[in-house]
Symmetry: C2
Subunit: 187 residues, 2 copies
């Protein structure tokens, strides 16, 4: 189907929420910034929460697609791709508008474990975990899940540290640590 006002709204809302936060971004402000009328917004989404959930779905799709492709560009073998993950992170951290992970932010503002926004954020992290476990399996490691979880701790740590410190350095710190972990892991 053709891209329409709805997609345009979700895309622009993503930008606004990512830059300003969820609670801090009101629907009036959103209407002004996207130049889409409030009436129209509420015709597509019954509540702000539904809009946020749509934004998170788009973010998940965009981010994972980007990451997977970038990793494939950077490395050929699964073993090298596990390391290339951190080179991709560095690219991300160096982007001008980098403000950390949208899902960490979302789960920070909607903390209840049962809240749809919190659950959807957790889903995103689980999908990434599945992906990295897959790489570790293909690379032939004996405990791919353990290894993947450790690498992902480095990834999450690098994201929040890069955001708080306003530097891309954590990407390379994490990469060095990841290399050490891989060298230490049995096949």
């Amino acid at each position: 189907m053709r891209p329409t006002k709805r997609d345009e709204l979700v895309q622009k809302a993503l930008t606004a929420f990512y830059r300003n936060g969820f609670h801090a971004t009101g629907m009036d402000m959103l209407a002004a910034e996207t130049r889409i009328s409030k009436t129209s917004m509420y015709k597509h989404f019954r509540t702000k929460e539904e809009l946020i959930l749509a934004v998170l779905r788009l973010r998940d799709e965009n981010f994972r697609n980007w990451l997977y492709r970038r990793i494939e560009e950077l490395a050929d073998t699964p073993g090298q791709q596990l390391i290339a993950l951190f080179d991709a992170l560095e690219d991300w951290f160096q982007e001008p508008g980098f403000r950390g992970c949208m899902f960490i932010k979302a789960s920070s503002e909607y903390q209840d474990a049962g809240h749809p926004i919190h659950r959807q954020s957790a889903d995103h992290k689980r999908m990434l975990e599945t992906y990295v476990i897959g790489l570790a399996q293909k690379a032939g490691y004996r405990d791919p899940a353990d290894l993947a979880r450790q690498l992902l701790l480095l990834k999450e740590g690098a994201i929040v540290t890069a955001h708080l410190g306003h530097t891309a350095r954590p990407a390379m710190d994490a990469k060095q640590a990841a290399i050490a972990l891989l060298e230490n892991s049995e096949k």
Copy 2:
């Protein structure tokens, strides 16, 4: 010296902000929850932001004191203490009210690099870094700063992952990774 209303307010505000978030916790709600009148709150703090900054100061003091002591209880030598950090984290994750790192949340809701709340959150992380570098130095590692930054990435990653996944497991994942990193590091 008896605890004053001011201290009581800051202490209770900490609990409320930690559980509900900063934007989502209004001053009226805060007054109701702490049973301290709004008038009184605004006599001690001119703005909500000033209150939040006081809350973060208290949190920093409480958390670092707790962490340092717990680590000293758990291990004697600097080398062992670097690992005990992750046992301490596990204790924290298992506490009933655990909701992640207050400073990550704060910097998530107040994202501008120059914002006082963001800066103060970054200060907290810097002080922790100084502490861990100190341990790595005393333990005799050749590149204590590099090692400390890597260990801290594991720590931050474990915190956000424990919060999102509602499990304490990331503490032990991080601990295993930390042990591997230490074994791999030259003295």
